[in-house]
C-alpha cells in the first residue's frame, strides 16, 4: 500500500494544476499572430512533405485547405463584406447558400494559387495589439524561391468565441473580399441574390 500514496498524491497534484489551468486556457485564446504562424507553418510543412500535393493533386490540396485552413476563417462575415449593402436584402436562407458557394469559390482560388508555389518561406511581422483589441491585421510576407520581391499577405482577423478568425486576406494591397463587391453588386442589380448564387455555383462547377 505504500506505493499508492505518492501516485495518488501526484495525480491529485496534477489534477489541481490542470483544473487551475483550464479556465485560463479557455479565456486566453491563441493570439492571432501566433495562430497565423502556427497554421501557415503547418500547411507549408504539409505542402513540402506530401508527394501528392507536389504532383499537383487538386483534391488533396483542397482537403488540406478544408481541414487546416477553413476552421480559421469566418466565411459568413467574408460573404457579408463582399455583398456590402446587398447583404441585408438577402434572406437568411439565401445568405447561407451564398456563403457556401463563395466559400467553395475561395477554396478553389486558394488551392489553384497553392499549386504554383514551391519552397517558399514566410516572414511574420511583429504584431502590436492591446489585450482589449477584437480586430487586428496580421502581416506576413511570402518569399518566393529564386529571389524576386516578397509578396505581402495580410490577414484581417476578428476575435470570436471560437478563437480568432480571418475575414479578409489582402495580397499586395488587394483585398480579396472587397474586390468582389462590384461584381456581386452588378449581378444582384441585374438578376437578384438568387442570380448571384447561381452565377457563383456555375463558376464553381466549371472546369477551371
Amino acid at each position: 500500500m505504500q506505493w499508492r500514496f505518492p501516485l495518488c498524491r501526484r495525480l491529485a497534484a496534477l489534477l489541481v494544476v490542470a483544473a487551475s489551468l483550464l479556465p485560463g486556457l479557455a479565456l486566453a485564446q491563441e493570439a492571432p499572430d501566433a495562430l497565423v504562424k502556427r497554421v501557415s507553418e503547418e500547411v507549408l510543412t504539409l505542402i513540402k512533405s506530401d508527394p501528392q500535393i507536389q504532383a499537383g493533386n487538386q483534391a488533396r490540396i483542397r482537403e488540406v485547405i478544408e481541414t487546416k485552413l477553413l476552421p480559421h476563417f469566418d466565411f459568413k462575415r467574408m460573404t457579408a463584406l463582399a455583398m456590402g449593402r446587398n447583404w441585408r436584402s438577402a434572406t437568411p436562407e439565401q445568405q447561407e447558400r451564398l456563403t457556401d458557394e463563395f466559400r467553395t469559390l475561395l477554396v478553389r482560388t486558394y488551392s489553384g494559387a497553392m499549386t504554383q508555389y514551391r519552397n517558399e518561406t514566410i516572414d511574420y511581422k511583429p504584431l502590436r495589439m492591446n489585450p482589449s483589441d477584437t480586430e487586428v491585421v496580421v502581416r506576413t510576407a511570402v518569399n518566393k524561391q529564386g529571389g524576386g520581391a516578397p509578396i505581402p499577405i495580410d490577414y484581417s482577423m476578428a476575435k470570436t468565441p471560437q478563437g480568432w478568425k480571418a475575414y479578409d486576406v489582402i495580397v499586395g494591397g488587394v483585398s480579396l473580399v472587397t474586390n468582389y463587391r462590384d461584381e456581386f453588386n452588378n449581378t444582384v442589380q441585374a438578376s437578384g441574390v438568387d442570380g448571384l448564387i447561381k452565377q457563383i455555383a456555375e463558376k464553381n462547377r466549371g472546369g477551371k
Binding site: 482560388t109 529571389g147 524576386g148 505581402p152 499586395g172 488587394v174 468582389y180 461584381e183 442589380q189
Partner: protein, 248 residues
C-alpha cells in the same frame, strides 16, 4: 543627330505607341455616350474599356500567351528569372528617380543601392543580389509621383497589350517609355529585341496572378479593374492607405 539624347525621330517605339494609344483613347472617350447604369464613378468609360479589354483578350490569346508558353517551355526557370531580374533592375532605376521626385530619400537610396549592387555584383542585373541581402524594392513610378503631387487618377483606362491603367498612370507609362534606357540603345535590332523580350517577360511575370484571376473572377473585366485600383492605392500610400481613402 545630337549626342545629348535621342531626337524625335529615334524616340522609343513604345513611347510613340503609348502616345498614339492615349490619343486614340481620348478620341474614343469623346465618342462614348452618357454613362450607363453599370458605369461607376471610377470607370466612366466602361463601355469603351470593355471593348478594348476584348481586343486585348483576343490578342493575348492568339499572340502573347502562345509566345510566352513557348518562352516558358524553351527557357529553364533560372534563365527566365534572370530576364525578369534584368528588366526589374531597369525598373528599380526608374523607381529611384521617382522616389527622389516624391522626396522619399530612404526609398530612393534603397533603389539606387539595389541598382548599383545588382549591376555590379549581379552580372549587370541578371541576379537579384540586393533582394537576397534584404534591400526591398521601392516600387515607385511616375504615375505614383503624379499622385503624390496631387494629380487625380482620372478615368480608368484599359489599354490593349499594356493592361489596366488610368489617365494618370498612362501618363506615367509614357514618361517611363521615354526615359527607358532601352530606347537609347543605338543598335536598332538589339533595341527591338529588348522591347520584345520586355513584353514577353511582363506577360510572363503576370502569369501567376492572371491564372488566379481566371479561377477567382466572376467577371474578369471588373475583377482586374478593382484589383488594379486597389493595388495602385496601396502603392501610392506605400502600404498605409488611410481608412477614408479605401473606398474610392
Amino acid at each position: 543627330m545630337s549626342a545629348a539624347g535621342p531626337s524625335q525621330g529615334t524616340r522609343p517605339l513604345a513611347a510613340r505607341a503609348c502616345t498614339w494609344l492615349m490619343t486614340g483613347a481620348l478620341l474614343l472617350a469623346g465618342c462614348t455616350s452618357a454613362p450607363t447604369r453599370t458605369a461607376s464613378a471610377v470607370d466612366p468609360l466602361e463601355p469603351m474599356n470593355r471593348t478594348l479589354f476584348q481586343v486585348h483578350d483576343t490578342l493575348d490569346r492568339v499572340v502573347l500567351k502562345p509566345v510566352v508558353d513557348v518562352y516558358t517551355a524553351v527557357l529553364p526557370r533560372p534563365a527566365r528569372t534572370a530576364v525578369s531580374n534584368f528588366f526589374n533592375n531597369l525598373d528599380d532605376l526608374w523607381s529611384a528617380a521617382n522616389g527622389m521626385l516624391q522626396a522619399k530619400p530612404q526609398k530612393a537610396g534603397d533603389d539606387l543601392g539595389r541598382v548599383l549592387t545588382n549591376t555590379m555584383f549581379g552580372l549587370g542585373g541578371l541576379i537579384d543580389v540586393a533582394s537576397s541581402a534584404g534591400i526591398e524594392r521601392g516600387n515607385e513610378d511616375f504615375g505614383q509621383t503624379l499622385a503624390v503631387w496631387g494629380v487625380g487618377a482620372g478615368p480608368y483606362l484599359f489599354i490593349p497589350l499594356l493592361g489596366p491603367s488610368t489617365f494618370r498612370d498612362a501618363t506615367g507609362t509614357v514618361a517611363r517609355a521615354y526615359a527607358s534606357p532601352i530606347g537609347y540603345a543605338e543598335d536598332v535590332p538589339l533595341r527591338n529585341s529588348l522591347y520584345g523580350l520586355y513584353a514577353v517577360d511582363a506577360r510572363y511575370q503576370a502569369g501567376d496572378a492572371l491564372s488566379v484571376v481566371e479561377t477567382a473572377a466572376l467577371d474578369r473585366y471588373t475583377f482586374i479593374r478593382n484589383a488594379y485600383l486597389q493595388r495602385r492605392r496601396y502603392l501610392i500610400y506605400d502600404g498605409k492607405v488611410p481608412a477614408d481613402k479605401e473606398e474610392q
